[in-house]
């Protein structure tokens, strides 16, 4: 083989290799894209709440959109549409209704590196655990949130601004995650937020199933106020038992909730008639330190015990039922809640 023919042969080989690499890369890219089709998820349900003898009917639709862009960006949004049917009151017979439409969050997430995600837009305020983790209707065990939810979430649950969050450390024995945010004031009805800042940090021990965390928030408009809280979640490994708890403290009130649930999946498996049952219990207390009509907590010290029973039907349908007895100096009352929720999850288009 002459020198020229050898060089020609080498060039052809190199180009073939380059083409093969490009082909493999395009297949890999296609494979990656094939998993990144935008999705629509969420829940649709019908909830009834009888509080102190007055029954409210709530048809709810809560869709969620998540759309990845490239390899580092994610745009996600969740909305809530409710039509409330409630008694007219004032001695009148019959029901009246009121629509409610809320954009719960609309955020862009930039996955900067393995430890950091930069979030911009309207996002759920990272205080405690309920707001970010348990507030979707297809996740929460009870039809209503805990009494202390407004503390630390500034009464709006959402913030408009920027947030840094991620996993600081993750090992086989423990992991630490964090979130820090700043929010501007927004009076737009769909992007309602208070000027505030704060964050949350937590440590999780996977072998024990134990998570301990703390939160802090500071309201930066009007009278500046500090909010603090901590949470403990204990979910033993290989057990359907769950214990979740939170405590929050504000300048005028404080309180806690403790929730336990135990799905009876040990009795014939999670798909059996008995295994689909999930008894739930929640205890809550709030304490009023000084009068404040704006912090969202009851005006007097309140104790409440919720006894619930959820049933997980096939095809992502769940029935929620609960009874609560609430004790307060302003009056004791019974709260009955029932609901049926269907969770949906599908791609926005068929994709490849």
């Amino acid at each position: 083989m002459s020198h020229d023919s050898y060089r020609l042969h080498f060039r052809i080989q190199r180009r073939l290799c380059t083409f093969a690499l490009l082909l493999i890369a395009s297949f890999v890219a296609r494979a990656a894209e094939a998993q990144d089709t935008p999705l629509i998820s969420g829940g649709v349900g019908f909830i009834t709440i009888t509080n102190g003898g007055n029954t409210t009917y709530l048809p709810v639709l809560s869709p969620l959109l998540a759309a990845p862009i490239g390899s580092h960006l994610l745009v996600e949004s969740r909305a809530t549409l409710i039509e409330s049917f409630f008694p007219k009151g004032g001695g009148q017979i019959g029901y009246t209704s009121a629509p409610f439409l809320d954009l719960t969050f609309l955020q862009g997430d930039y996955l900067a590196n393995r430890h950091l995600t930069i979030v911009g837009g309207e996002f759920l305020t990272p205080f405690g655990t309920y707001n970010e983790r348990l507030s979707p209707i297809w996740i929460g065990n009870f039809a209503d949130g805990p009494l202390i939810l407004p503390l630390g979430t500034m009464g709006t649950d959402s913030s408009v601004g920027g947030m840094l969050r991620g996993s600081a450390i993750s090992t086989a024995k423990f992991s630490i995650d964090y979130a820090a945010y700043f929010s501007a004031t927004s009076t737009n009805p769909q992007f309602n937020a208070e000027r505030s800042s704060g964050g949350r940090g937590s440590i999780f021990f996977p072998n024990a199933g134990l998570e301990i965390g703390t939160s802090y928030g500071r309201l930066l408009q009007g009278t500046h106020e500090n909010f603090s809280g901590f949470h403990v979640w204990w979910e033993p490994v290989d057990s359907p038992f769950k214990l979740r708890s939170e405590y929050a403290h504000g300048p005028h009130s404080q309180g806690y909730w403790v929730e336990t649930d135990y799905r009876l999946s040990r009795f014939g498996g999670p798909e059996s008639a008995l295994g689909r049952l999930e008894p739930i219990f929640r205890m809550q207390q709030t304490f009023r330190n000084s009068p404040d009509s704006s912090d969202g907590l009851p005006s007097a010290d309140t104790q409440r015990a919720d006894f619930g029973l959820d049933y997980h039907l096939p095809h992502e349908v769940r029935i929620n039922t609960s009874y609560a007895r609430q004790f307060s100096s302003t009056g004791n009352r019974n709260v009955w809640e029932t609901g049926i929720v269907y969770r949906f999850l599908f791609p926005t288009w068929k994709g490849k």
Partner: protein, 100 residues
Amino acid sequence: MQIRRVLASCFLLGAILALTAQTQSLAASPATASSDKKDKAARPQPASDGDRAFRQNCSRCHQAPESFPPQISGTIVRHMRVRASLSREDERAILKFLNP
């Protein structure tokens, strides 16, 4: 007095639930071993990294979806990475678990 009774009942119920959970957890291992002898094919495999990561990060808040099309598995995991502050390793493990 009524409040005390309710609180006492609540704590009693919580204690019973916790004890039941622990008892069932302890009882689970021998039962699994027994079934192993009967049926080797049904022998449970050691939990993969993805299975572990899924249970530690996703199942703590919600039930796993019954099924979903594979073309959205990457989007689900990216959403979960932000929502649950997943580490890069857990993100990859869960993606592999969801879309083997």
